[in-house]
Amino acid sequence: MIESAHALTLTDRRDRRFGWLMASPSLALLFLVILFPVFWAFYTSLHDYTLISPNFDTFTGSANFIKAAEDGQFRHSLWLTTFFVVAVVLLEFLLGFLVALALNKVERFKAIYYAILLCPLLMNPVIVGLIWRMFLHPNLGIVNYLLSVVGIAPVNWLGSTKIAIWTVIMVDIWHQVSFMIVLLLAGLSALPREPYEAARVDGASPLQCFWRITVPLMRPVIIVTLLIRLIFAVKTYDLIYIMTRGGPGISTDFISYFIYRTAFVSLNIGEASAMSIILLGIILALTVYLYRYMRSLT
């Protein structure tokens, strides 16, 4: 890259100043609502700041971080979130890829399929949670009713410590799988047609075409889709808040919900801030990787 700062003409410099001027309101707003809270959270995480005594009188340094790291419940939440994220991303990917492959072959009514697919994606997670909580109600929900029709005993979808996490995973898949489908489908339909013809003449079976051509050509799309979905899955909060409140017990106590509880139920803002910073670190690392990867493609 050539640093062209010296070569800037007067017009260039004026344009640049005008650009900053035009961007300044949004930049100020971004600073106010994003950067400031982040710094505030970081500052808070270094102090013994609770809602009972909301002040920065006691500087505790890394004590909140150490306490969080040693907290069994925090670690449980981290592990649970990891499990949820991996399960959700993998299942959504497999399901999404299958559906995308099928839809890629469809010629007619493509628009209608797209419209149906996009419906869940357009819904607010809170609405999704509410709908499914009603569907899955142990006595009044339609799911258990339908099961009883075919003679299956009712399932305690959200009330059992074993089943609840899988229920949440299932609802999340219902809600988010279209995202995968739409992205992967876009990738698939952008693939060149010629290599497939060449491969057929070269003697490749459809399965060999898939593994040797489709998958490698789709690699960038797959990685980007997985990472975007991963980052969003780590932050899952609304669904838990509406459907289980982390329960039963702590069986669906994901990290964002646990942080929320630490802050506003246990009123320990300092420790919650420390946990947020840890979570931010994890997400930031993922984002940086995603960004680097996307840059490396061009």
Binding site: E194, P195, A199, R200, V201, D202, R212
Partner: protein
């Protein structure tokens, strides 16, 4: 044995386009066959049907005596070089070359050996680790060719493989392909819309138009005896001059008349064409059959012309002139490189009457003529 036989093969695309109509052709084992025709005449479609990439709507295709209509392309053991190369973008050049062999479970050492041989032959050894995106058009073309060669198939189908190359590379690849065919002796079907390629490369040319075969024959045979005005106007550059005229009887005998220019037919042709006397015809006059002097042309006809322009090509000069003098139909004439004439200048040229072609005015078909000595 890999002779390719098309028996009344047709292709109608799902959208109703009849791209190929009742094409019958017998491509012999080891033959270098050219498909020549303007863009959109169904050359690629025919080739893709032979490869199995396009279903055959009607008719029968057999390769080596076996019916192939419903055989999967993978099982035809035919290699195709696509017009746009269709390399595997995610594989290195070596990967591209070896893919077909891997699928056929050729041992690794054997694959490496063959890749090396082909790469040496095509001069792409230094490129083996590169990806297609890092290659120039000519290099990609050679890789695409290599991918076909490495597999030792029954036949090669080449779809305008030289069309994306610059003139110099194209000329050298032309020779390379001819040499290759001499060395391997494998059947080659080469599609092109370039008549120079067609004339120089093939053992036989199959000229297509609007999904149908117009004429099949050895290059010189097609050049000497074009079956109709389409072939006459398509082959060679500049192509045959096509001038409308009439056959007339006069005191000198039977003559083909175009405007004020008269071509008195030699006695040998006279009887053959006598029945057509009075009919409207199209005269076919090759630019190279006009001569500046009588020289040693046995049967010649002096024709007055008026110069319109000259195009200096270097090895030769193309004279554009009006046949029969001012206001006559425009024709092109090949002249030696030292020729010059100014616009408007009248000249007398001598046409070699043994090379006159006459076509039916309405159908465009050649009027069959008795062969000359």
């Amino acid at each position: 044995m890999a002779d390719i036989v098309l028996d009344r093969v047709s292709k109608i695309y799902p959208n109703g386009v009849p791209a190929v109509r009742e094409v019958s052709l017998d491509i012999k084992d080891g033959e270098f066959m050219i498909f020549l025709g303007p863009s959109g005449c169904g050359k690629s479609t025919t080739l893709r049907m032979i490869a199995g990439l396009e279903s055959i709507s009607a008719g029968q295709l057999s390769i080596g005596g076996e019916r192939m209509n419903d055989v999967d392309p993978a099982d035809r053991n035919i290699a195709i070089v696509f017009q746009n190369y269709a390399l595997y973008p995610h594989m290195s050049v070596a990967g591209n070359l070896g893919f077909g062999l891997q699928l056929r479970h050729v041992p690794k050492a054997e694959i490496d050996r063959r890749i090396k041989d082909i790469a040496t032959m095509l001069g792409i050894t230094e490129l083996l680790s590169r990806k297609p995106a890092q290659l120039s058009g000519g290099q990609r073309q050679r890789v695409a060719l290599g991918r076909a060669l490495v597999r030792d198939p029954k036949a090669f189908l080449l779809d305008e493989p030289l069309s994306n190359l610059d003139a110099k590379l194209r000329a050298s690849m032309r020779t390379e392909l001819i040499k290759l065919h001499q060395k391997l002796g494998t059947t080659i079907v080469h599609v092109t819309h370039d008549q120079v390629e067609a004339m120089t490369m093939g053992q036989r040319i199959c000229i297509m138009k609007d999904g149908e075969i117009v004429q099949v024959g050895a290059p010189m045979e097609v050049y000497r005896n074009p079956a109709n005005t389409f072939v006459a106007g398509f082959l060679a550059s500049p192509p045959m001059n096509l001038v409308s005229g009439r056959l007339e009887h006069d005191q000198a005998g039977l003559a083909a008349v175009a405007g004020t220019a008269r071509f008195v037919l030699p006695p040998a042709l006279r009887d053959g064409y006598a029945a057509q006397s009075g009919n409207a015809v199209t005269l076919g006059l090759r630019p190279e059959d006009f001569h500046l002097s009588r020289g040693n042309v046995k049967l010649s006809q002096a024709v007055p012309v008026a110069t319109v322009a000259t195009e200096v090509l270097g090895p030769e000069v193309i004279l554009v002139c009006e046949l029969g003098g001012n206001g006559g139909p425009e024709v092109m004439v090949r002249c030696p490189r030292d020729f010059s004439a100014s616009p408007g200048q009248p000249l007398t040229l001598h046409y070699d009457l043994s090379q006159i072609h006459l076509f039916d005015k309405t159908t465009g078909k050649v009027l069959s003529r008795p062969s000359l000595i």
